[in-house]
């Protein structure tokens, strides 16, 4: 069997079908693990492990670090979310490879430079890091997982996130058009 050549890029799956697939994965997490999916928690664990490696006493003195890595860097691989996110990397790469969509690229509109796009991605990530810590989760842990179990806080997160994104969208239109 020959796989699709990298030049033949297949179209994305119908978004409703992709969502149903994603929903079944989320349901499996609820049923077999008793918890939903997540992403920002894994970032927080990696940061906390790094901090306790570089500056153990400092990290232990700040509850925001200590909550994630009580026993230092070794505990990173005792975190469910860290393993799940390793899987996300593999699953994303597998899907893109099967569909011929793997591209070494920087996605941006024609009116911004690569450097500007990378700076905006870094800056947006930093702002999201703060927001996700404040809200105790991100689009995965709050919007998707908390949303599916109808947590009020998760729906407040959805309202806050999409409300602010639409309000701020005109500021970043040039990034894409």
């Amino acid at each position: 069997m020959t796989g699709p050549s990298p030049r033949q890029e297949r179209p994305y799956l119908d978004p409703y079908l992709a969502g149903i697939g994603l929903g079944l994965v989320l349901l499996a997490a609820f049923v077999f693990v008793g918890r939903g999916l997540g992403a920002s928690g894994a970032f927080a664990s990696v940061v906390a492990s790094g901090a306790s490696l570089v500056a153990p006493e400092h990290a232990a003195s700040i509850p925001a670090y200590a909550a994630y890595a009580p026993e230092g860097p070794r505990s990173l691989f005792d975190e469910w979310l860290v393993w799940e996110m390793i899987g996300v990397f593999a699953g994303g790469a597998l899907s893109a490879w099967l569909a011929g969509r793997f591209r070494r690229t920087i996605e941006r509109g024609p009116r911004v430079t690569d450097r500007a796009r990378l700076a905006l991605a870094f800056g947006g990530g930093a702002i999201m890091g703060v927001g996700a810590k404040l809200a105790r989760g991100c689009t995965s842990g709050q919007a998707l997982s908390g949303g599916a179990v109808l947590s009020v806080g998760s729906w407040l997160f959805i309202v806050g996130a999409f409300g602010a994104a639409y309000l701020a969208a005109p500021l970043f239109r040039r990034e894409w058009t």
Binding site: P15, Y16, G19, G21, L22, G23, L26, A28, A29, F30, V31, V33, G34, G36, S40, F43, V46, V47, I62, A64, W83, E84, I86, V88, F89, G91, G92, S95, A96, F102, T105, E107, R108, A121, F122, G123, G124, G125, I127, M128, G129, V130, G131, L134, A135, C138, T139, S145, A148, L150, V152, S154, F157, G160, A161, A164, A165, Y166, A168, F172
Partner: protein
């Protein structure tokens, strides 16, 4: 974690990453379309996933196959969730990807995904270093474990039905806007 727990986490993660990529969620340009009303894939993927998992869990619970009480429900902190969400939304539209989708973007060769992941790490460091200043806000307005059904004083079944109706309405609206754009 035991070997089998790790295996389950990996398999669930692979499925998560796979369907995110299949739905186009690893592409910042596609995600940005949601905020400029040109592509509603984010809304469609996210809400059909929520409906699927919500209905699946509800009916598995009703049939007695799953103890719904065992499933983790995030606690609600009214203002931190709303304000944290708004801060998150600003970063989302600026960066074009969210934390989970940035990993999918990175794993499919997109360097903007890598930049966003590094930014996430930096933002978390900033938050943790400044934690003393926001600690009281972080723990403010706790409402405990509360669901939309509890809030409205209706049964879980009725809350589930309301979310289904709202999501179907949102899908119809998204389709209508997309059709109007295509016609122009």
């Amino acid at each position: 974690m035991t070997g089998s727990e790790i295996a389950i986490a990996l398999v669930i993660g692979v499925g998560f990453g796979f369907f995110l990529e299949q739905g186009g969620m690893g592409s910042a340009r596609k995600l940005a379309g949601q905020f400029y009303l040109t592509d509603f894939a984010v809304l469609k993927v996210m809400f059909s996933a929520i409906l699927t998992a919500m209905l699946g869990l509800f009916w598995l619970g009703r049939l007695g196959l799953v103890d719904v009480g065992r499933v983790f429900v995030p606690e609600t902190y009214l203002w931190p969730h709303l304000i944290g969400g708004a801060v998150f939304g600003l970063g989302f539209v600026m960066g074009g990807l969210c934390p989970g989708t940035s990993c999918v973007a990175a794993s499919t060769g997109r360097l903007d995904g890598v930049a966003l992941m590094l930014g996430m790490g930096a933002g978390i460091v900033v938050f943790n270093e400044g934690f003393a200043r926001v600690a009281s806000f972080y723990d403010s307005s706790p409402l405990g474990t509360v669901t939309l059904g509890d809030l409205a004083g209706v049964s879980p079944g009725l809350a589930v039905l309301a979310v289904v109706v709202a999501a179907l309405g949102a899908f119809r609206l998204a389709e209508a806007i997309e059709r109007r754009r295509a016609a122009r």
